[in-house]
Amino acid sequence: MSTRVSPSRYADPYVAGVGLGLVLLASFVLAGRGLGASGAFAAAAATSVRAVAPGAMRGNAYLMDHLSVGGPLHDWLVVEILGVMVGAFVSAKIAGRLALRVERGAHTSIGQRLGVAAAGGALMGGGAVLARGCTSGQALTGGALLSVGAWLFIGGAFATAYLVALLTRRSWT
């Protein structure tokens, strides 16, 4: 980007929340299901395992379940996540918020930030498989449907997130 545009402010959180809720409602009405993110990664994982080590699929109900007929581009959640990336890109482009960067605390090096980011991502991956979903599929979707497991997930996730954030708060200052 050659011209410098000062980025606009983020939307009011309640307005964005209602907007997000209407998208979730439209998904329930039109597709009979809510939002998701981890399912798309599970579909990609299942596709990778079948391509690289098809023997490992045997006896693995989880991977078999997440293997979509006709390839990952015919998987509902994979297509939805591609939409997420396009939607986010367009929103950031319009707001002048597109920029290549690594966001981190002032006293944290890029290497440290990326190392912790990878570890955090991997832990979330383990948690999302065990819990059968993440913040999108469990917390948002299951939460709106009053699913007991979704609210247990929200409680467990927020409790440890506060604890870990307390122990690591200096890495963000």
Binding site: L25, L63, A88, G120, V129, T135, A144, L146, V164, W172
Partner: protein, 201 residues
Amino acid sequence: MSAPLPLSLATGSGGALAVAFGVGLGFGWWLERAGLGSAPKLMGQFHLTDLTVFKVMFSAIVTAMLGLFWLARAGVVDLSRVYVPETFVLPQIVGGAVFGGGMALAGLCPGTSCVAAATGRGDGLVVAGGFFAGVLATALALPGMARFYESGARGSLTLDAVLDLETGSMVLVVVAAALAGFVVAEHVEQWKARRLAQVER
């Protein structure tokens, strides 16, 4: 005919995938609008400086819940055809706890890591890569943890059934809790801002 439409029958799987893409567009748009593609902003939730995560999440939950409740009441939506995620008590508490620890380290969740990556953030891309590796490794290890993974199975259990409340009363309780939460959130942000101002002085 009532919703949800059997889209795959009505328009072929192409119709269902078009809905998936459209829903994704809206999802990504609003996450980016709210600033949730930014790890420092998301961490404000856990440092109590910026409770956007809570406000966005719970206004979205309340909006979708109320919309679905009234559309079902009006006979527009057949709730029996909306998939309610199944409950597995222990795996979801433990999985949630592991997930939350990872989220506080990453500063992003899986959905927002995709938003971060799509808007040029390298840390978002790395979180998404780590998440993929974690899902892959855990999925491969899952047959060895089958007993734990399947423990506490309760089916599509909902809060109103557990608390023995009418669905309408349960919806009211969640709305009231969210509204109270919003009031508390505004106060916490102001209190934290005052405290930080005092420390700087």
